[in-house]
Structures are given as structure tokens and as C-alpha cells.
């Protein structure tokens, strides 16, 4: 089953004359349950592709379908609702709110869902336990290591039970041992929760572990190089 489909998507940054074509005619399907790596050199359009997949941005042209729904022209509120309920994000620089504890950070998505705070905190605590941070619930980000912070971020991304987990170079700021643990966590969550994972990475070793690789080259999807790893 296809969770996300891009069809002839174009995207450029900047205005009119100075606009830079970032994505050219990209078409791809992400199937439910797969773990998919997006690779390519800097400036090849990986991050822009991920933003489109995460409904953070809209394509200039082409079709973008999320779980069968045409979302290229959906309202900002509809996109926000989909991001809130169906998509989880993990960023290279964690993006935790420094003044909130790990628990509060993880419970943040529930704030925009109208979930009672107590219930939200309970679910956040359970998810922090799941990622191995049961003893760090009330620590603030500054009191935690990079690996722990990224675990908090992963917990926040999946606490709302999303269909799609997107990660933009999630291990870029981590040492290799910690990076391996985070990637292990992605695979474990994929296996346990059935969440579909798409992650941008520079690391060939990580890409090699993923069931499928999407290779970006100059704003185009290199279909020859892309595909399932045997």
C-alpha cells in the first residue's frame, strides 16, 4: 500500500529571476512499512524532498498524495492536522525546546491535538521509556548527551503514533556508536509500531541498512541507482 506518492513534482527556491530549481520532475512512491534512505550529495535536493514529503512545504507543480489524499493544494490547517497526527519528524539538530523537560518536549504534539495534558504526559512517559530514557523524564535537553537528546526527539516524533517517520540526517551530529544506536532505534520502531521510515543520510553504511535507497542527483531522482537493496 502506498502511503506517499509524488508525481512529476517540481520545486524551486527563491523568486522569479533568481529562482533555483531544486527538484525537477521527481516521481516516487513510499510504501507502507518500508525503511527508505534518501541519499545524494549536498545540494542535490534531499532536504527539500523530505520537506515536501513531510508536508512542510508545497510543490510548485506536480501531484503530492498522502495516504490517497491530494495535499498539494490543501489548506495550511489541513496540512498541520496531518503533520500532527500522521507524520513524525526527527531533525539533525534535535530541535528540542530548551526550557522544557524531556517529558514536556515529547508531550508537545498532544498540545495541538487537544489531548488532556495528563494523558499526553502518560503517553510521553511511556514512549520515553520505550526509547530507554525512563530515568531522564524530568531532565532538560542541556542536561543530556547528544544521543539522549536525539532519543527524546525520536520519542516525540513517534509518540503520536504517526504513519510516517521522517528524519533529516538524524545522526549528523552524533558519533558513530551513538549514531548506530539511533538507527537501531528507527529499525526497532519500524518493526514494533509498523511506522514507515524515510531518512536523509550521508552515511553509506546507514543507507546500506535501509530496505530501499532513493538517490538524488541534481534535483532529480536517479532511478537507475535507486531501488531496493537486494
Amino acid at each position: 500500500m502506498t502511503i506517499l506518492a509524488l508525481d512529476g513534482v517540481h520545486k524551486s527556491h527563491g523568486r522569479a529571476a533568481g529562482a533555483v530549481q531544486v527538484l525537477r520532475d521527481v516521481s516516487l512512491d513510499i510504501r507502507k512499512g518500508e525503511v527508505c534512505a534518501i541519499v545524494g550529495s549536498s545540494g542535490s535536493g534531499k532536504s527539500t524532498l523530505l520537506s515536501l514529503m513531510g508536508l512542510l512545504d508545497r510543490p510548485d507543480s506536480g501531484r503530492l498524495r498522502f495516504e490517497g489524499e491530494e495535499v498539494g493544494a490543501a489548506s495550511a490547517d489541513r496540512l498541520a492536522a496531518l503533520r500532527n497526527r500522521r507524520i513524525g519528524f526527527v531533525f539533525q539538530s534535535f530541535h528540542l525546546l530548551p526550557r522544557l523537560t524531556a517529558l514536556e518536549n515529547v508531550a508537545l504534539p498532544f498540545l495541538y491535538r487537544g489531548v488532556p495534558p495528563r494523558l499526553g504526559r502518560d503517553r510521553a512517559a511511556a514512549m520515553l521509556e520505550r526509547v530507554g530514557l525512563a530515568d531522564r523524564l524530568h531532565h532538560r535537553p542541556e542536561e543530556m548527551s547528544g544521543g539522549q537528546r536525539q532519543r527524546v526527539a525520536v520519542a516525540r516524533a513517534v509518540v503520536g503514533d504517526p504513519a510516517l517517520l521522517l528524519a533529516d540526517e538524524p545522526t549528523g551530529n552524533l558519533d558513530s556508536a551513538t549514531a548506530r544506536q539511533i538507527i537501531d532505534l528507527f529499525f526497532a520502531l519500524n518493526a514494533d509500531l509498523g511506522v514507515t521510515v524515510a531518512l536523509v543520510t550521508h552515511d553509506p553504511a546507514i543507507a546500506a541498512r535501509c530496505g530501499r535507497q532513493l538517490v538524488m542527483r541534481d534535483g532529480r531522482l536517479d532511478s537507475a541507482a535507486s531501488g531496493a537493496v537486494p
Binding site: 520537506s51 513531510g54 512542510l56 512545504d57 495550511a76 490547517d77 498541520a80 492536522a81 503533520r83 500532527n84 497526527r85 519528524f89 531533525f91 530541535h95 525546546l97 526550557r99 522544557l100 508537545l108 504534539p109 498540545l111 495541538y112 491535538r113 487537544g114 489531548v115 488532556p116 495534558p117 516525540r156 503520536g160
Partner: protein
Amino acid sequence: MADGESGGRRWRALAADALRNLGAMRQRSLLALLGIAIGTAAVVALISIGENAREHSMRQFLAMGADILTVQKDFSLSGRPAVLTRADVDRLRALPGVDEVAPLTMLGVEIRQGRTRLPSAVAGVTPEFFALVQAKAAQGRTLTEGDRAATVVVLGAGLARRLAEDGHPPVPGGLLRMGGYNHTVVGVLAGSTPNPVLPLDVDSTAFVPLSGVRRVSANSDITNLVVRKMPGADDRDVRQSMTNHFSGGAHPRPVMVQSARQLIVAMSDQARVHTLLLAAIGGVSLIVGGVGVMNVMLMGVVERRREIGLRMALGARPIDVCAMFLAEALALSLSGGMAGALLGLAAAAVYAWNAGWAFAPSVPSLPLGLGMSSGVGLFFGLYPAMQASRLEPVAALRGE
């Protein structure tokens, strides 16, 4: 939306979030809060002071005689019969609700004491006048029926003080020259505050018997009547029957009948204008405080772009982001407003105590102050909040 029923909970959670955010920017929030607090304090204090001042003068005025009415002749041509006569005094006294009537002739005369020459107001009065305006003698006595034909004078306290400036304070038994006659001083009145209802300032007037006015002036027509109504009588009825007395008959006479009520209305109108003016001044400082709030919020929007982007990625709708910043601005200005309201009341109390007034906290000033501060917060918070909600998630996440 499926979570429609939890809308209230959602807003409560958003408000709690806003308070936490403010706590994180403690120092800057505190500065903006201070601006709002000072603005609100100014509004509350100025309104309270204005109101207390009004109450004070009103109380003073009521104590002096809200039961007094006056009749003043509008104009009279020489050669025509006098507008106000002794007969009027008796006729008015007979009207229902009228307690006492005192006729009055107002003049300006030069008083001489030794070498001192002092132009002064002189009033010809009957003995009842002093009781009617509650004027008491500090030295000597006031005028009596026996003074009708005597060449005597009673001095107001302020006038006596001015006459004393040459080193010879007038005392009972002394002589003053007015209009070519030596008048014997029989009394000096105790000092009093001016009563706005009366056509004269008791303090700075020399009083001679009404029948003795002829000695100091060619025109001895009665110029005013001072009337005291019965304690229970409605001043409007009394005023009406007095007006009827003068406008009725074959020759309606041009007179003006004034009651304390009219003056009170005029005074409170004036006081209201003052209060409004003071509130406007306070409002200006509140607006300055609002600009401070806007500054803090705009800085916050710039500094927290990544946070805004993240919240959007986590599912915050534009309106959620807008509400978050509005709630923060509102929380800032409301807490500033509360602090300011207390501060303002305290300032008004100190002012009242200093001026020797009875302090009563102005009831409308509190909701007004709080309402204005939160209004200012919302108004000045709206622009930054809109700015925040219009950010594109991707750009905001990158911190651009």
C-alpha cells in the same frame, strides 16, 4: 475536527504553555511588564485622584450649604423701579419650603484706614444674613437689628488681614472710612472657604447694614437675595415657585434664580472632564507600555523562529501560533495591569492622604485599568502574533 469537544481544554493547555514561555524570557518579560504596570498605575491613580478630588470638593460644598438658593437681578436700567424690593423678601419668605430670605446689596467701595486705601467689596445685609451663611464673628459681633441706623461695619477675615498689612489690624471699636463716613468696626468674622453658591466671598467683604448702604453709594438697590430652603424641601420646587414669583404678575422681572443643584451639576461636569483628561494622560503612558510589549513580542518572534517552525512541524496551525503569542502578550499585560492597578491605588491613597482627603478607592478605575491594559496587550500583541503565524514552516525551521 474530531477533538471539537476538547476545545476548551486545548485553549487552557495553550495558555499554560504561553505562561511557561514568558517565564523563560524572564528579564525581558519583566521590563515589558514594568511598562504596562506603570501605564496602568498612571491610569488608575489619576482616575482615583480625580474622583477623590471631586468627592472632596463636593463634600465640602454640601457641608457649606446645598440648601441655599440665590436670586440675582439680571440688569436694571437707571430710573426704572428697583427689580428686587423689600416686599419680595417678605413674599418669598411666605413661599412654601422657604426658611429664610436675606436681601443683599453688592457694591465696590474704597475703604480707608489711616493712610491705607483699599478697594473692596461691600455688602449691605440684614442681620439674618450671617446666620444664613453660617458666618460667625471671631472678634466682636455680627450685625443686629439695633444696627439698622448705625454707621457700623463687620469685616471678613481676609479683608481684615489685608487691612492689617500696614501694621494696624482693625479691631472692634476702630474706625474705617467708607464713602465719606466713618464706620465703626463692630466685628471681624472667622475665616471661611468660599461658597460657590453665594454671590460674594464672605472672607473678603465688608458688611454694613442694608439701610446704611445709602451712605456709601448713590445706588442702594437690592442686587441679590440669598434664600435658605427648609431642610426637607425639594430645591427644584422651591426654585420653581421663586421663579414663578418673579415672572408672574403684571411686570415680569428679569431675575436669575440659582440653586446649589445647578452648581453641583456644573461642578461634576467639570470634574468629569478633568478625570477624562487625567485618564487620557494615563492612557498615553499605557500605550508606551504597549509598544514595549510589542517590542518584546517582535524580538521573541525573531528569536524563536526555529521553535515556531518546530511547533508547526508538530502540528501547530497558524492560528495556534497566533494564539500562543497573543496569550503571551495578554498574560504579560494582564499581570502588568494587575500590578499597576495595585500600585496606582497605593499612589492615589498616598496622594489623598497628603492632600488631607478621605481616600476611597475608585471602583470603576480597577476594571478600567485592567481592561485598558489587556486591550493594549491584545492590540500590540496582534501584529507580532500575525507575523509569527505567517511564517513558512520550512523557512522557520531553518531559522531564516
